[in-house]
Structures are given as C-alpha cells and as structure tokens.
C-alpha cells in the first residue's frame, strides 16, 4: 500500500464500526486471509493494492470476502 502512504510493517488503526465506502482503505478477509487494500465498489467490486508491484483483485463469485473494518490511520515504521 505504498501509494497510500502505508509502508511495510505499518501498524494500522482499524475502526470496525465505520461502514466502508468506495475508496476507503479497508482490512478484509479474503479466502481466509487478512488483506489491506483500497476498496473499489464501482464500476465493479475490486480490491486495489496501491502498489505497482501487485495486481488489483477482482473479487469473483464464490470467493469468500468479508470487510472487517475501515483503516482510519497508520503508524509507519522507519527502522
């Protein structure tokens, strides 16, 4: 998530009570694994990596997606 200013090993503050919107940075569980992505709702559901090294994930039918919460802040680590 480098393009969203979230570095490797950053500590994320996740608010589970905020309903995620189009464009929110979220923590979601996808097929049994937690991921941090930018949520895209239109034109179609997609998890954007905000990192050129990774590809967007277009969520398919049958995939197990659960948005856990909205990331409201991040603490980046420099060392």
């Amino acid at each position: 998530m480098v393009n969203a200013n979230i570095g490797d090993q950053a500590i994320l503050i996740v608010d589970r009570s905020i309903k995620p919107k189009h464009g929110s940075i979220v923590v979601a569980s996808l097929d049994g694994e937690f991921v941090c992505k930018r949520l895209q709702l239109k034109p179609r559901l997609c998890l954007l990596p905000e990192n050129p090294a990774y590809k967007p994930i277009y969520v398919q039918h049958g995939q197990d997606l659960d948005i856990m919460g909205t990331v409201t802040a991040a603490i980046n680590k420099f060392e």
């Binding site: 500590i11 994320l12 589970r16 009570s17 923590v27 569980s29 049994g32 694994e33 937690f34 991921v35 941090c36 197990d64 659960d66 856990m68």
Partner: protein
C-alpha cells in the same frame, strides 16, 4: 408490557478463536481447559462431529485431529477482552444491562413498546455486535428473564434462523413451552425435573399451568417464581451491579500424577498465591480457606477426594496468611498412597458477608499467626503486574511450573507483539 432481552454469544470461546483467524471459518474448533485437560468449548462443527462437553482431550485427540479438527488451549486474555468489547457495545445500545456471565447479558428494553420493534432491535443489535466485535450472538426477547432465556435457547436450535426470537405474544409463549421439557428451563435441574415428572409435569407448559401455591408448598419459592416468570410476571429484575463473588476457586490438573506431599505443596502454594491475588482484586478478605485434592477418575487406580477447611481468627487477604492456612489444610487432607491428579484452593466467607468480630467462643487455632499487611501486598501485586515476579518461598516459581499451554492462540487484542497481520 416491558420487555427484556438475553444476548448470548454463540459458542463464545470457539467464536473468539475465529475472530482473528478467518481461515478457521466453518472449521471444527475445540477449546481446552487449563493444562489442556478437557474440552470446555466447541464450535458448532465440533458439536456436529459428536465431541461432547467436558470430554478429556486425550480420549478424542487422535480421531478429532485426524478429521481436521482445530484445537486451542484456553486464552482467557483474549476471551475476557472480547467479552468486554461485546458488553461495551451492548451498553451503548440500551440504558440498563446486566452482565450475567462472560458471554451473556440481559438488556432492559424499556424504550421498546411493540414486539415487532423488539424484533427489529434484536436484529440490529446482532448485526452491530457481529460487525463491531466479530462475535456472533443470538438474542431472546420476552417479558421476563426466564422466558428470554427460553427464547434464546430456541433461537440457538433453529438452524439457519435469524438468531433472534421474540416470545412476546401469549400464543407464541404457549407453543414454545409445549415443546419444551421442564429440564430445559432456567433453574430447573435434573433433580427437580425428575420430581416434577413424577407429578405429571413434563413440559414448560405444564409447569406454567401449575398452581403457584402448590409449587411453593411442594417445592420452593424459587420454583414458584419460575412459574410466575413463565406466565410473564416479572419476578427477577435486571441487576445493574452484579453481586460480588462469594468464593474464589483456583484449581488445576497436574501435568502428571503425583504421590508425594512435598511435590504437591509448591503447586498448591501457587494456587493459593493466585487465589489471594484475585481476592485482593475484588477488594475482599476471607475468613476461610480450603484445599481439595483428587485422584484421577480415569484409569483403575485407587480413588480418593480430600477436602479440608481452615478458619481464620480474623479476615485475611495477605498471601502469607492464606499460604499458612493452605499448608495446614493440605497437611490435613493429604493421604499417603494415592496418585493425585488435581488440586485446588478455595477462599470463602468473605468479610463483607460475615461479621468480623472475634468469636466469643474462640475455638479457632490460636497458634496460627495471621499476617496482614495491605501495603506490602499492594506493592507486591503492582510489581507482579509489571512482569517482575516476586515469589513466596513455598511456591514453585511459575516459569518452572508454567502451565502447559502449547496450543494457545496469540493475545491479539491485549499485547502489541501479538497484533494480527494483514497482507
């Protein structure tokens, strides 16, 4: 009609283990007691596999794991914290709540007038707890606590239901009670239900129809209250402040069988130290301390259950005083020639519940000097909280004794080093 709700977490410990492990969704999960002795919680998948509550782990281990079951040692730091989160969310939704246990709470629904609003509230409440904390709950709504318990019980058994059930209208209550055996009713145990059956009272409906006078005379005021509650008469109010504890028990199974008193002594001391900490945490002092030691009910060795209590001359919360009492009690209940599997320490007769004067007929053991120094104890407790361990001489240092908790999940919510990670 005033309504109340019982919110009950589904398979709470197992659900807690799932919150930060999305890969465990729909997998069978069991949680084991301290020292991994027996099964104390099961997910619905584990229940479906036929795993019974309380079964010793070693008996099911092989087949359970072979069938892909997941197992955890109990992680009370996690369960306690998630329980607090659930209760905190519920507190924000109504004016009055009674936390009834780690995974249950009664909510006062005074502000809700109709049963359809109550149902909507239940659905809302369930969704909020699910989303904000990650714990699934079911909710029973009714005019009384006893009926709310029944409603939640029925909601649990309805597979694929909404998890919310209202027993607000009489014809719903009647139908539910007709299908319910008296045994399933809150406060009616196996014994009572047998006696009720002898009087041709089999279903909840039979009990509700019983004459209250008759029930009071034949049984007790408590059961009469249950009958009234089944009729929708509120007898048990929501108690904002739960009653303080009346006793504290710390007991554990040993990792292996022990015959020798001198090997049991330091372990029992550990239980006494832990129990004393809990006692001070509650702001209490106790007048009685008891020790229990058991042989294993499994296997073919000779069985023995020892129990002895010591009375203090004045209320005690000082670990040193409690340790002295515990050692005396242990000496009295220990018998040579048995292989012990479990021991425990019970503190009771808290000073709040008893007059604390010295007894007139002082049959107490005067030889026992009871040390009591509140400041010293506060100091030691604060050090031990900060991971600096202060031990009492009779203890077995905890790092040597360390409870075998090989399968404990991380303390996701209470330890920085255990935060869950996202890719």
């Amino acid at each position: 009609m005033t309504l109340l709700a019982l919110v009950d977490c589904d398979n709470f410990y197992a659900s807690c283990e799932r919150v930060f492990r999305p890969d465990l969704r729909a997998k069978p999960i069991v949680v084991l007691s301290n020292n991994d002795g027996c099964v104390i919680a099961r997910s619905k998948e584990a229940k479906a596999m036929g795993i019974k509550m309380g079964v010793p782990w070693f008996q099911i281990k092989r087949t359970y794991l072979a069938q892909g079951g997941k197992v955890f040692s109990s992680n009370f730091a996690l369960y306690g914290d998630l329980s607090n989160r659930v209760m905190h969310v519920l507190e924000g939704m109504v004016n009055n709540i009674e936390v009834y246990s780690i995974d249950e709470a009664f909510l006062d629904l005074q502000h809700i007038q109709t049963s359809s609003h109550a149902y909507e509230f239940g659905i809302h409440c369930r969704n909020i707890v699910r989303q904000w904390v990650g714990i699934p709950v079911r909710i029973g709504i009714a005019p009384t606590k006893t009926l709310a318990k029944i409603a939640s019980h029925i909601a649990k058994q309805r597979v694929g239901g909404t998890g919310v059930l209202c027993l607000c209208q009489q014809h719903h209550v009647d139908r539910a009670l007709k299908d319910l055996s008296v045994r399933e009713i809150w406060g009616v145990g196996q014994n009572l239900s047998r006696r009720l059956n002898n009087l041709n009272i089999y279903s909840g409906y039979d009990l509700m129809q019983s004459d209250t006078r008759f029930i009071r005379d034949k049984f007790s005021v408590v059961l009469e209250r249950t009958v009234r509650e089944l009729r929708g008469e509120q007898c048990l109010q929501i108690q904002r402040n739960a009653e303080p504890k009346k006793q504290i028990i710390v007991s554990r199974s040993f990792k292996k069988r022990i015959n020798d008193l001198e090997q049991i002594r330091p372990l029992v001391s550990n239980f006494a130290v832990r129990a004393s900490e809990k006692l001070r945490d509650e702001g209490q002092k106790c007048l009685q301390v008891s020790v229990l030691i058991f042989t294993s009910p499994f296997g073919h060795q000779a069985q023995y259950r020892g129990f002895h209590s010591i009375q203090f001359p004045s209320p005690v919360s000082d670990t040193r005083g409690i340790l002295a009492g515990v050692q005396k009690a242990l000496n009295s209940c220990f018998k040579e020639g048995y292989s012990y599997a479990k021991a425990g320490v019970v503190l009771s007769q808290f000073s709040q519940y008893s007059v604390t004067q010295g007894s007139l007929f002082n049959e107490l053991d005067q030889s026992m000097e009871v040390k009591q120094d509140d400041r010293l104890m506060r100091y030691i407790d604060s050090m031990n909280e900060k991971q600096v361990q202060v031990y009492y001489a009779s203890q077995f240092p905890r790092h040597l004794f360390s409870i075998s908790k090989s399968m404990t999940s991380p303390k996701y919510t209470t330890n920085w080093l255990d935060l869950p990670t996202a890719k």
